[in-house]
Symmetry: C2
Subunit: 344 residues, 2 copies
C-alpha cells in the first residue's frame, strides 16, 4: 500500500518526465509538460497538477496530439514571434519561443508571441511568470472550446477563454492573475456534479437557455461569462485576437474539430510582452518602484493580491517538497510502469 508521502520537487519532476517519456513523448515535450504540472503541484493548484497527466495521455491515445512535435520558430523584422507547435502541446512551443520573444520585446518595446496548431491544457500563469522572471510584463490569452453562452444568448459558443497577466516585482514574486472569463471554470462544475451539490445561482443555463443550478443540466447547456456583458465582451475579444486574428481555431471551431470536451483542445494562443523600461524611457520614473506603491496600497488595506495563496504554497513546497496522497502515488506508479495502459 502507498501511504501519504512527501516528495521533493526534483524527484516529482523526474517521475512525471518518466511517465510522459514512457508514453511516447519526446524529451522536449515531456520536460515542458512536466514543468507546468509540477509547478501546479508546487503552488497548491491541484486542478493543474498531476491530476492533468491522465488528460494529456488520453489526448495522446485519441491521436489528438503529436507527442514528438518539434515546434518551428519563425522570427523576422516584425514584433511578431511565431511558433508553429506542429500539433504538440503548447508548453514546448512557448519554451521554444521565449528567448526570441524577449529579444524582440527588448528591441521594439513590445512584441507578441503567436503559437499556432497547439494542443492546450495548462494554466497560463507559468507563461506570464516566465516573462516576469525576465523583466517583462505579459498578457496571455487563448480560446478553449464552446461551453459558454455569450451574455444575452442561450447557447454555448464562447470558450472559458482564460486571460493571464504578469508584472515583475523585483526581489519578490510577480503580480500575476490568471482566470477563466466564464463565471467558473468547467472543472468546478464537474466537481459539483461529482459531489452531488447544486451550482450557485448565475453560473449556468440548461440546454433550453433557462437558468439552472443542476451541474448535469449545466454541462449539457452552457456556462455564463463572469461579470455579465463586460466579461462576455472580454471573452469575445479573446476569440477575435487569439483565434481569428492569428488564423487559428475559435472555440466553436475547436469543439467541432475535436468532437468532445473530454480531451485537450487544439487551437492557438497569443502572448503580448512589454518591456517596462522601454515604455518608461524619458519619464524619469522607475516603473517598478511606482507599481510597488500601488500594490502595497492594495495589501495595506487588507485586500489580497491574486496568486498570493499560490506563492505561499510555493515557498513551502520549495523547502519541503509536496505531499501526495496514497491514491496519487498509486496513480503515478501505475502510469510509470504501464504507460498509456495505466490510464484509469
Amino acid at each position: 500500500m502507498h501511504a501519504n508521502e512527501t516528495i521533493s520537487l526534483k524527484d516529482l519532476s523526474a517521475q512525471v518526465i518518466g511517465i510522459f517519456t514512457k508514453a511516447g513523448f519526446s524529451p522536449l515535450q515531456a520536460q515542458s509538460l512536466a514543468r507546468v504540472i509540477v509547478a501546479g503541484e508546487r503552488d497548491g493548484c491541484k486542478s493543474h497538477g498531476i491530476y492533468r497527466i491522465e488528460g494529456c495521455l488520453r489526448t495522446l491515445r485519441a491521436g489528438k496530439v503529436n507527442p514528438v512535435a518539434v515546434p518551428a520558430l519563425h522570427v523576422d523584422d516584425s514584433a511578431i514571434v511565431r511558433v508553429d507547435a506542429q500539433g504538440g502541446f503548447a508548453n514546448a512551443a512557448f519554451d521554444t519561443g521565449l528567448e526570441a520573444l524577449e529579444a524582440q520585446t527588448a528591441r521594439f518595446g513590445l512584441a507578441a508571441l503567436v503559437i499556432t496548431d497547439c494542443t492546450h491544457f495548462s494554466a497560463l500563469w507559468p507563461e506570464v511568470e516566465a516573462l516576469a522572471a525576465r523583466g517583462m510584463a505579459g498578457l496571455a490569452m487563448c480560446p478553449s472550446y464552446a461551453t459558454v453562452a455569450p451574455y444575452g444568448g442561450t447557447q454555448a459558443l464562447l470558450g472559458t477563454n482564460p486571460i493571464a497577466f504578469g508584472w515583475p516585482r523585483p526581489g519578490q514574486h510577480p503580480y500575476v492573475f490568471d482566470f477563466a472569463t466564464s463565471v467558473a471554470a468547467r472543472g468546478e462544475v464537474e466537481l459539483h456534479r461529482i459531489a452531488g451539490k447544486p451550482l450557485p445561482d448565475g453560473w449556468a443555463m440548461d440546454a433550453q437557455g433557462q437558468p439552472t443550478t443542476s451541474p448535469e443540466a449545466a454541462l449539457a447547456g452552457a456556462m455564463l461569462p463572469f461579470g455579465g456583458h463586460k466579461g462576455s465582451a472580454i471573452s469575445t475579444m479573446v476569440e477575435l485576437l487569439a483565434a481569428a486574428m492569428i488564423g487559428d481555431l475559435t472555440s466553436p471551431e475547436a469543439l467541432e474539430f475535436l468532437g468532445t470536451t473530454t480531451l485537450a483542445p487544439r487551437h492557438g494562443e497569443l502572448i503580448l510582452a512589454f518591456n517596462p523600461q522601454r515604455f518608461a524611457a524619458g519619464r524619469q520614473t522607475d516603473p517598478f518602484a511606482r507599481a510597488e506603491i500601488l500594490l502595497q496600497a492594495i495589501t495595506g488595506q487588507g485586500a489580497r493580491l491574486p496568486s498570493q495563496r499560490r506563492y505561499a504554497a510555493r515557498d513551502i513546497a520549495i523547502k519541503t517538497g509536496v505531499t501526495l496522497s496514497a491514491d496519487e502515488r498509486a496513480q503515478l506508479a501505475r502510469l510509470e510502469a504501464q504507460g498509456l495502459d495505466g490510464i484509469s
Copy 2:
C-alpha cells in the same frame, strides 16, 4: 425661449468648436474636443455629449488643462509611439499620434501609442473606432482617479479605469466595447443621487468599508469593481500598464494631484494596436471573415453585440441630425455668448 430643436451634426460641431474657441482653446484642441463630444450626441451617449462641455470649461477655469497645448509626437525605431500632450486634453494628443501609430503597426505588426501628461474626460470608443476605421484592432485603457476599492479592500484606491476594444468589420460598424472596470460609472451613482434613488446592491461601500445603497455614502466611500476579484485584477492591470509602466500618474496619484473628483483628471493613456493581416500572415485564412462567423453566431442566438445601440442611434443621427432640449439649446447659446462666464 428655446424649444426642442433638431440640429445637423455639422452645425452642432461648428457651435461646439465655437464654444471651445471662445473659451480660449486653440483650433487643434477645440476641434479634437468637439469631435468626441458631437460623436457622443450622435451616438445617443448623452453622458459623453454636450453635457461634458461645462466640465471641460471648469477644468480650464481651474487652471488644470492647457487650452493651447501642442502635443509633441516622438517616433523612433521601436514599436512605441509617444505623444506628450503637454497638459492639454488627450483627444488632440490621440489625433496627433494616430498616423504614426498606423505606420508603426503596419511595420511591426503591433505597436503602442503612449499618451502622457494629458487631461482626460472622454470615452475611449472614439479611439478604438478610429483604429478600426484604418483596419487595426485596438485595445485602449487609462486610469482615472481613486474612487474604487480593490476587491477585498475597504478604501477607494483604483480608478474606474475604462478599457475599450475595437475590431474592424469590413463594410459595417466595428465590434467595439468600452466600459468602466467598476461595477458602474461614477456618473451613474451621481444620477441616482440626483434622482434620490437607492443604488442597487453590490455597487458601493461607505467610508467605513461597509456595503451601502446610499448614493451619498457611496460618493464619500468607494465603488466596487465589476466581476469581483476578476474585475479588480483587470483594473489593477490598467494602473500598472497605463500608469506605472508609461511613467504617468496612477489613480491615487491623479486624485492627489487634482485634489477633487469634479474636474477632469491628469494622467496618461495606453493604446495597443494590431494589424490583423500581419498576424494572420502565412495562415491562409482571412481573419476578418473568420471573425464574422463568430460575431454572427453571437447575434444569431439573439444576443446583442456591444455598441449596437450606439450604432443604431448614429445611423439615424447622420441622416436627420440630433434633437436637443430647450435647456440644452439654452446652455449652448449661453456658453457661445459668454465663454467661461457662461458656466452654470
